[in-house]
Symmetry: C2
Subunit: 418 residues, 2 copies
């Protein structure tokens, strides 16, 4: 069974917007056993969308369309689908009642333009939207089913899980026999990862492994196919163990886990606390760490010491040291780490200082030069790194490198004590 | 003239990767006067890519393909194009020599598998890749030109600007007569923005305006078409002024500018300094602010006060106050703002406290409840907000709201003093 995803919106073509909806849908469809070979973004143009729908229905049994269900003139999905089917739009009473309730809750009148959101192509099936005003719908065209969902991710996801997935599984007679898992690594190049796991990458492998790179993280995508989803998940567990065996400690997590999750997990496991003192990363490390729910048990405080004054006053970095060796130096990074560790009374103090650029560079201290230090009761470690790229890239690479240093240290401590 | 973009790679369908290449290409093609109606992602499958190419050549004069030019078995773009054309691949001597030089520089032998990267469909034109080993190529199929570029963004961009854009402008006789600008707003719903600027949104307008939403920001995309790019830019200037007039102070920037750029600009203009005290946002505000080059002139320090101890010790929040009204309260938000302002000796102190969730909520203090306060020498302002969504969404909305509060305050000060 082939499926396709069509995302509607000129912003998806011209805008700097990642189409997270399509990724989420593709993965769920693949897990349900559908073959997802195409993902198309179409501008807000009735004819262009109509043409894309016709092509899709010739090569796929299932087409999921997202976006273009809003109340404005630009929103053309329901009209385009009706035109392809050669039917009119008609008001769905249930959907209109639901919309009335939502507006009532907010003590608002329904603007006349919004009524269109309760209209679907005649003969179609409504897909309730519990959260928003844009109802979805499903229609059949030739041998294909076209399912239209709103573009707002939280609404789309809720409708996908509660209506679409059960519906297509029931209708297709498919069961979820596939499963996908991402295994993330940091600190090894993609070609080296490829080399180490090449035994898992052949087309005949099950699960089959492939690699992809994003922001310094090399991820291995494992895709398993078995007679049941439970069995597929078992195969994934086995393959994940094998990947971890082959790659060792560069593996830091799976699926939605970032380096910050790995660090938070290891801190909790080891009953350790941490505090950060950041200069060039400007709070990015503490921002990432505090994305992890419940991290307040181990992350106590972060000092963004952008001025030398703060480094001296809060972190106790000796003013003379800054004067002698400069704020961007291994000595100051170590003093920041030690300073925040003592101030916060934690197990691990992390200090980062560097030149994010493009300004602030000197002949011997180029943009991208970063010192990352951490102090524990037994160790002081400082690394020098030179990152390339623009300011935000330098910040991100430095923050990830810092988190990875802490992760590897906590790992080695855990291994030593166990 | 119609153009299409095809991105090759299963990771673009299943992976959590934003296709930044396609966005960049679409915008440049639009600015060159091409109509970009479709953007398709295709998995690593020769037949699927072949079918997509055939469809694209029927509806567009220019097809730009990115990705699938690597040396591995998964890389199928050159083979798929050759199959569509019904020709063989042949080695391009120039490209091979270039590859030899690159490997020599790294003191490496060319692995046998890499030779394929210097092969292009017979009769095609090579597009030099100055940075990497994957050469691009251009071929003609029926009335369309197919241009294939590598997926590595830095290589793709260099080849796009140096070879593709000059080539297609020359060949098509087009000149860059279009220009695109995004105008960003915060604090007004998309439908209200639509309502206010609807006079600019009709299909006959030049520039034509459309709106799009991303992470709380409503953006107006202005697309101008004139007899020259200079004239198109003039039209954009006029339209931007009109949008600003219609929408007022909800407009905070254009194109790559975020709220943090607006705040940094206004701080510099007013010669003001700021310091932040963040609890639930965990450093996100300072992270955003420090993304702006040169912000160190006005951003002095940020305290991520995740524990009550830090709120008391560094920010001087009275312990009794936290005990009486709770850490998530307008009183503590104000005390944090005042505390960091005095500690850092700055003009504006910003304090944020709240419950990012999912843990930490109480019956009267639900997840998503956030207090944002700021203190200046003349004012203390605190706002209560209730954000929906997951932890990271709550953090982001709170951070943007905080930046916007500061922005509006600085704007009003600027207006009052001028």
């Amino acid at each position: 069974m082939n499926a396709e995803i069509i995302s509607v919106g000129t912003e998806l073509i011209l805008g700097q917007i990642a189409d997270t909806n399509a990724v989420c849908i593709a993965r769920r469809l693949a897990e349900c056993g559908f073959n997802v070979l195409y993902k198309t973004a179409v501008g807000d143009d009735i004819d262009a969308l109509g043409a894309a729908l016709r092509i899709a229905t010739e090569r796929a049994e299932l087409i999921i369309v997202t976006g273009g269900l809003g109340p404005t003139e630009d929103d053309i999905t329901r009209q385009a689908v009706a035109a392809v089917l050669g039917v009119e739009l008609s008001l769905n009473e249930d959907a209109f009642r639901h919309m009335q309730e939502l507006f009532l809750l907010r003590h608002l009148e329904i603007p006349p333009t919004n009524k269109i959101q309760a209209m679907i192509p005649s003969g179609g099936t409504i897909i309730p939207n519990k959260i928003g005003t844009a109802s979805g719908f499903a229609v059949t065209f030739r041998r294909a089913e076209i399912i239209c969902l709103p573009g707002v991710p939280v609404e789309m996801k809720q409708m996908l899980e509660e209506w679409v997935i059960p519906h297509i599984l029931k209708k297709s007679g498919l069961v979820q026999t596939k499963a996908i898992r991402y295994v993330h690594t940091f600190g090894m190049s993609e070609s080296m990862v490829d080399e180490k796991i090449k035994g898992l990458m052949g087309r005949e492998n099950n699960p089959r492994a492939g690699t992809m790179v994003g922001e310094g993280v090399v991820s291995i995508c494992l895709c398993a196919d078995a007679e049941s989803r439970a069995k597929a998940l078992e195969l994934l567990d086995e393959a994940e163990r094998e990947v971890r065996r082959l790659l060792g400690e560069v593996v830091f997590g799976i699926d939605g886990e970032g380096l910050e999750h790995a660090v938070a997990y290891l801190l909790k496991r080891g009953d350790k606390t941490i505090a950060t003192a950041e200069s060039c990363t400007g709070g990015l490390v503490s921002d990432l760490l505090t994305n992890v729910p419940g991290v307040s048990d181990c992350f106590v405080e972060g000092i963004v010491a952008y001025s030398n004054k703060v480094k001296v006053e809060i972190l106790g970095v000796p003013e003379g040291l800054i004067y002698t060796v400069g704020a961007v130096s291994p000595e100051v990074a170590c003093a920041m780490a030690g300073g925040v560790r003592r101030r916060a009374n934690v197990d691990i103090g992390l200090g980062i200082t560097g030149i994010a650029g493009p300004t602030g560079a000197t002949p011997d201290k180029p943009a991208g030069l970063v010192y990352i230090a951490f102090e524990t009761d037994s160790d002081v470690i400082c690394k020098e790194r030179r990152f390339l790229g623009e300011r935000v890239n330098v910040k991100r690479q430095a923050a990830l490198e810092a988190l990875n240093m802490v992760r590897l240290y906590l790992l080695s401590m855990g291994n030593a004590s166990s």
